[in-house]
Symmetry: C2
Subunit: 483 residues, 2 copies
């Protein structure tokens, strides 16, 4: 099931065959496959965490928690397909008396086929080999070929072995899951006619290049990319008056978490003008330990990013130092401060993601200026507002809803719950998709609707048979019915 | 509300403002707008049909029926938003005791913003100014700018007047709906930063060019294109033995309907080798009247298409004549016949859509050859099987499910019911989308999910408030609940 044994065309042929088998498998069978993978990862967690720590330096507690999150995610998708709403079964009975006569029509979501998954560097479990994209694709009956991230190759290979063994042991078809590595293979994968959708988490340039390949194929395929996000935070004067110290501590904890390498790191913080909040954030973050970054390339890019912010006229370093050797000594937190007016002058220079433990505080003078500068913020995964109790923030929330997929109140965006209501996605460049990559509805990315007109019961998917043998929620003649 | 009064940038600015108002309107308000438009079109149906007949020659009965279908469609979307499931409201309550603690998270689908709609030539009502794309976008709270089809410009303008007046009369915001015309304006519309999604029905070359523009924007947007479809039909030996004459008559009626200008026209018909079915189809279609085509360009392209099929080695003209002047005399039906072996030799020449009253009968010798040639058929809107009672067609149905969005049994694909279960879409080039453009779920194209984390009740959309004031189906803590 790995590159070692098969060429790419061999892998995609096997993936195509396996996808047929998986599509015909029952939800109970696929749920069992997911449980087998989750159990195997849990059983090998200590070994995996050790390899992961050696490759990523993210820390044993964080990595241990991430394994649990990853196996919880696999089990959530097993629950999702068992519940059955994910099939979106709809039945409209025939109406021969209508003008024109209406046929019997039954619609269901079917698996899209083999899926390519590009691992992220920053979540070596949850967004990698056995992460959310893989779990959601396998759940609905797709096969998966994962492109390993070069930042944790040994971990990827070991995880893939465990996943492949668990799937084999649970009776899943050969070829259902495979791992490949290398940039060229990744590029070929996106262009391979056998691949029907791509999941990707990574940088804007890398993701956009692959998006362009996917959409310029003779047969374009969906490319579900998560590319970059500034995750704006708005703090109102009332919030600051009520709890400045708490906000400074919370922000410092959030933007430095995981060495500032979270896709949901708060990278822009809008604060009322004329306060000492920048100083408080600088104080709250100055004792955060330096942290080794994911790869030497990322560690080298961090000080470059810091220097390019600092070089912009009107930007101050409010805390920390831009003169640092993150590759040698780990990354140290840096807090920048500027004004909304300056950002409006140079949005393209200041509204730019910098991977690492840094954030920019942007002073606004009034609601109008705040609204104007928010209008320049590119699409984000999250947007956060810290307000006073009972404060009228309706218009602000509406604006933030337009620029992000998740709007938070009095919290911090790092930390993404894996549940039914999660939305991890947002307008471009946050994602290239109208779907989430985290949470129950992530499965929808790998499904396509098919309607069956006047079909005999015997050829219908069980979900569409009259008696509802699966016992799932369905819409019948326009009415949603519970089993 | 039309081009005459505003520049494109004026129209898109007004559309952006109107989309904000529409997004904040209640479902009841938007349902009333849709009903007002439907009522106004019905009230003016006679005048509209007369203009439509002068421009398209589709015939008064067909156009009258199409107006009813169009207004029924508007009313269906009013019912869809009233029912409320379309919001996909999901609530996960907080669980502070979980590790890590889970926040309160509530997810809903929000309108995507201003939408551009490109009208089709062949359905001057149902896929045009007030057609399915417009109806579904308005239903969920988007504004719409329609690019008129040049084939029925007068009808487009008159329809737009009626729509705009009805919306204004019903209290909808100015700028919610506008009509533009001309190829350059259409191109500019797809690239306009204010436009957040595009609906398109038309040709493969035209649609692909616009798709490429939409996906190569600095911020790519979804392009929901319906481009081209061969709509394969498979007839088994048992079906032919049981009812050859009925099948010949049914096929002749379907491929000549609307002068063969339906996107669901059966363009490829797979039949068992060694029968007289081609002769029967030729007989059944030879007395169909010639029909004026939609535009002179289409009428000129038809005989060209016929000649290019006839020139392929191994293709016979089984009925009708390829030497015809469709522009002067109307289009006459032509039946081609060939073999699966020939198609497998030259798939790119024979698996090509020809707009007009023609179809190709393709003889297959066994199931293996049938499966091989079906594997070459491009993605289609529909696939049809005519089988004998109780015949084992499981594998065939599975293959057809993979290549089309709607699989029909013992029927003909022309005729698309507008209901909850419809799927009008399919793998590329049938569509560039995982969604339908007809039926209740078409609204999903113009919605984007947003989750609210720990939000105060006062800023939440009513659909997400604890007491469920809208009385709609919601998923609460993983469980689907009816109101």
């Amino acid at each position: 099931m790995t590159t070692a044994t098969l060429s790419l065309s061999g892998l995609t042929a096997a993936a195509t065959e396996a996808a047929r088998t998986a599509a015909a498998a029952t939800d109970a069978e696929r749920a069992a496959w997911l449980h087998a993978v989750a159990d195997a990862l849990d059983a090998n967690a200590a070994e995996l965490v050790e390899i992961g720590e050696a490759e990523t330096s993210l820390g044993v507690p964080r990595l241990t928690g991430e394994v649990a999150r990853t196996t919880g995610q696999l089990r959530l998708f097993a629950a999702v397909i068992t519940e059955g709403s994910y099939l979106e079964a709809v039945i409209d009975h025939a109406d021969p008396a209508a003008t024109p006569p209406k046929p019997d029509l039954r619609r269901i979501l079917r698996p899209i086929g083999p899926v390519a998954v590009f691992s992220a560097s920053n979540f070596p479990f949850a967004f990698s080999v056995a992460g959310g994209d893989t779990a959601s694709a396998l759940a609905v009956g797709c096969s998966v070929i994962v492109k390993a991230h070069s930042g944790h190759l040994r971990l990827s290979e070991r995880t893939a072995e465990i996943v492949a063994d668990a799937l084999r042991g649970a009776g899943a078809p050969e070829g259902l899951f495979a791992l490949v590595s290398g940039r060229e293979v990744g590029t070929a994968l996106v262009q391979d006619p056998a691949i029907k959708a791509v999941g990707f988490t990574g940088s804007i340039p890398g993701g956009r290049a692959l998006f362009d390949l996917a959409t310029s194929r003779p047969d374009p395929i969906p490319f579900y990319g998560e590319l970059g996000s500034l995750n704006p935070v708005v703090i109102t004067a009332a919030a600051l008056q009520a709890r400045a110290a708490e906000l400074a501590a919370g922000l410092a904890g959030s933007f430095t978490m995981g060495a500032g390498q979270f896709c949901t790191k708060p990278g822009l913080v809008f604060i009322p003008a004329g306060t000492s909040f920048a100083h408080q954030v600088a104080e709250a973050s100055k004792d955060k330990p330096t942290a080794r970054m994911l790869t030497s390339r990322i560690a080298e890019a961090y000080p470059e990013g810091l220097r390019s912010f600092a070089a912009v006229e009107g930007v101050e370093v409010a805390g920390g130092s831009i003169d640092q050797d993150a590759a040698a000594n780990g990354a140290a937190p840096v807090v920048f401060a500027t004004t909304a007016a300056k950002v409006l002058e140079r949005p393209e220079q200041l509204l730019e993601e910098c991977f690492g433990p840094t954030t920019i505080l942007i002073e606004y003078t009034d609601q109008q200026e705040l609204s104007a500068v928010l209008a320049e913020v590119p699409g984000s995964l999250t947007a956060t507002v810290h307000a006073g109790p009972g404060e009228d923030i309706g218009a602000l929330v509406e604006q933030l809803s337009g620029l992000a997929g998740r709007v938070l109140f009095d919290g911090w965006p790092t930390g993404v719950a894996v549940n039914w209501a999660q939305q991890h996605g947002g307008p471009y460049p946050a994602t290239t998709s109208l779907f989430t990559s985290v949470g129950a509805t992530a499965v929808r990315r790998f499904q396509r609707p098919v309607a069956y007109q006047d079909a005999p019961e015997s050829v219908l998917h069980p979900a569409l048979r009259e008696a509802n043998p699966l016992g799932i929620p369905r819409r019948v003649d326009g009415e949603l019915k519970l089993p």
